[in-house]
Amino acid sequence: MKIHLKIWTQKNPDDKGRFVTHTVENISEESSFLEMFDILNEQLVAENKEPIVFDHDCREGICGMCSMTINGIPHGPERETTVCQLHMRKFKDGDTIVVEPWRAGPFPVKKDLIVSRDAFDLIQQAGGFITSRTGSARDANEILIPKDVVEKAMDAASCIGCGACVAACPNASAMLFTSAKVSHLNYLPQGSPEKDRRTIAMVEKMDELGFGNCSNYGECQAVCPKGITLDFIAKMNRDYAVAKARQLANS
């Protein structure tokens, strides 16, 4: 295959950035999108030019590191698929593909296609945990958790923290991410003692970091590589309202 690429190129956080056009040839249809980038980069190095930098690591769709907006869609055209698992057979010979970094205020571009997603770790630090000191746990089977409950928690816990939801949202909202993290722990009985604190702390941290609000576009759900649904946002809103009401009642 022969592919034309328009790739966002930006030297550093202060650089204005621009699209640069490249062409790569002899790409196998069986190659992944990132393997096509590897070939492009080898080509650039052969020409003594700097390669395009992009985040990637596991290349099996689970680490959440890869982050490219392809033809306007975070992670590209295939549903429930990260960029690293997107394959060239989904494109046509001669296609022109536009590749950009995640675009969102709280995700500043560092270089080319690499952005900082440190904000996600800060949300997690605010309350995305169950306080359970190592060595203090009781026997695992003493906590009975119905299968449907654990399955729901697992649906939420599947989030890989890639940030596509934020990149897709016109408001740069991190509600899908935060709600997945909150819901995973709030569904479980082990998570209930800290439920209110957690929900309030994580939501407020998310707001403080400059992520926008949810106005039900649903773009986040459409691009989520793990199929996380808007239901979790509804759950988080409910948990937040209840937590706030309880806080008020107890104050």
């Binding site: 690591d57 689970i62 009781r138 695992a140 923290g161």
Partner: protein, 642 residues
Amino acid sequence: MNLDSKIPEGPISEKWSNFKFHAKLVNPSNRRKFRVIVVGSGLAGASAAASLAEQGYNIDCFCYQDSPRRAHSIAAQGGINAAKNYQNDGDSIYRLFYDTVKGGDFRSREANVYRLAEVSVNIIDQCVAQGVPFAREYGGLLANRSFGGAQVSRTFYARGQTGQQLLLGAYSALERQIGLGKVKMHTRREMLDLVVIDGNAKGIIVRNLLTGEIERYAADAVLLCTGGYGNVFYLSTNAQGCNVTAAFRCYKRGAGFANPCFTQIHPTCIPRHGDQQSKLTLMSESLRNDGRIWVPKNAADCGKNPNDIPEEDRDYYLERKYPSFGNLAPRDISSRAAKEACDDGRGVGPAVKGKREGVYLDFADAIKRDGLATVKEKYGNLFDMYERITGENAYEVPMRIYPASHYTMGGLWVDYTLQSTIPGLFVLGEANFSDHGANRLGASALMQGLADGYFVIPYTLPDYLARVGAQNIKTDRPEFEAVEKDVRERINKLMSIKGTKSPRQFHIELGKVMWEKCGMARSEESLKEALEIIPQIRKDFWKNLRVVGDENTINIELERAGRVADFIDFAEVMVRDALERRESCGAHFRVEFQTEDGEAKRNDAEYSYAAVWEYTGDDTPPIMHKEPITHDEVKPVVRSYK
């Protein structure tokens, strides 16, 4: 080189209790005076950093990714073993210990393995308390499945994403400590060297991957949790960034490297598609619970649609050769059997460079027996992943699989306390060598990473710290100066060659040599060839390498160049180790040493030891030392899975 394994006194079941009782402690109010460096944030690193911070120590934790949540432990699919015996099927700590020693082909240290089995039960409790959503039965109890090399059902799992969920659990505990200020997290940093002061590890030099700055960090002890070196083969199931640099730098500073030739080839990976391949993807071994592995009996059928090949023309070779374990035979055995079938010209799938390298993993019988819905529920995400990568629907045509480099049992030598031959340098998880011998059983990597981090190091590290005392080392000491100078010189050297070949080209070249000469099957001849070729690659590397860009910014070429340079040097140690071990055991298969029916032939009389390599200089070969492996509990037998 002092290889005192420091195994505690007493019967095997009491050794760990004895150690814990006799270990020195640091009183709670003194713990804040100590600083500990943790390199790596996977299962071992994150769990160690969080647990030590909970105890009150100050931690600096480092990872090369943008967040600790992305360490490659996250990609483990199948599960984690624990001797809970929740299934009432005869499991026990002793049985898990026995299975692990046997699975490791009698080349692991018994006392360490027993401790691993002992704390395995605590790991599950700990993870559930943190909110890890392990699979459950309708009644709310934990569910189990079975895995290769075991006849009991002791594997806990969270769909096909067990590693992810365990890592998110450890990561959440770590993030909590970061929020509390006990852990300072340093992301996008790569450790480039170790600083040793008066014979003790007291700091590291890292490169900030965003700015290119070289930074110094000092501490009272250094914990290396940097994973394995599977990427020495270029193509592996490891993440792109996995590398041997941190461990290899420590080796060059005096840490012994043990059993580097013990590298595991995982039997169930998606076959290569061609030359543009950058990584291989593993399909969880749990698939072997229900999938049946076969190749056509006749080479002439290999190009046919598998559904058109009648039952009598199929060779279910694992079931035929190993009737009692069948498709669940251990990884090394399954991998080699697949290679044999393909070498025999009976491989399936598209040919790469004229050879079909793949075997079928067929779910037709499972679907017939249990129904499509059940198979979908168990393995749906794996089938989806397979389809995304290959474009094929495995509910309709059998999957194609082939072995790939996956895990490395070898690693830095450690004693019972996980301390390397450099005092103060502790090595956890895949980066050390002790627990898996010559072959690791499925679902045991997660167990070991978490055992080391949650339940071993919190007891063994204080013993060291209490002995040496808090020293409040500063980074302006001449030792830091000297090591930083080495690091800068090396970077300058890589940048200044200005040749014509990219780091990736060298990596591909090296990987090819290692896979062909030191991969699934090795011979004296192939290893000696490798020892001829590797120095040529090194020479070419330092003469013709091209690193574009500059070092004061994100420079992915410089990162790769440094890693490949270490892989080249490390590869030579690995090949030497494979050459010296004139026996076949576990994952190390020397073609000269096999039984009449092609099984690995161990030589316990001469090779019951861990080979520990000591660096002696860039121009002199390393020296091998031996730590005898004794078999006090489990008498070595021919490892039979027939």
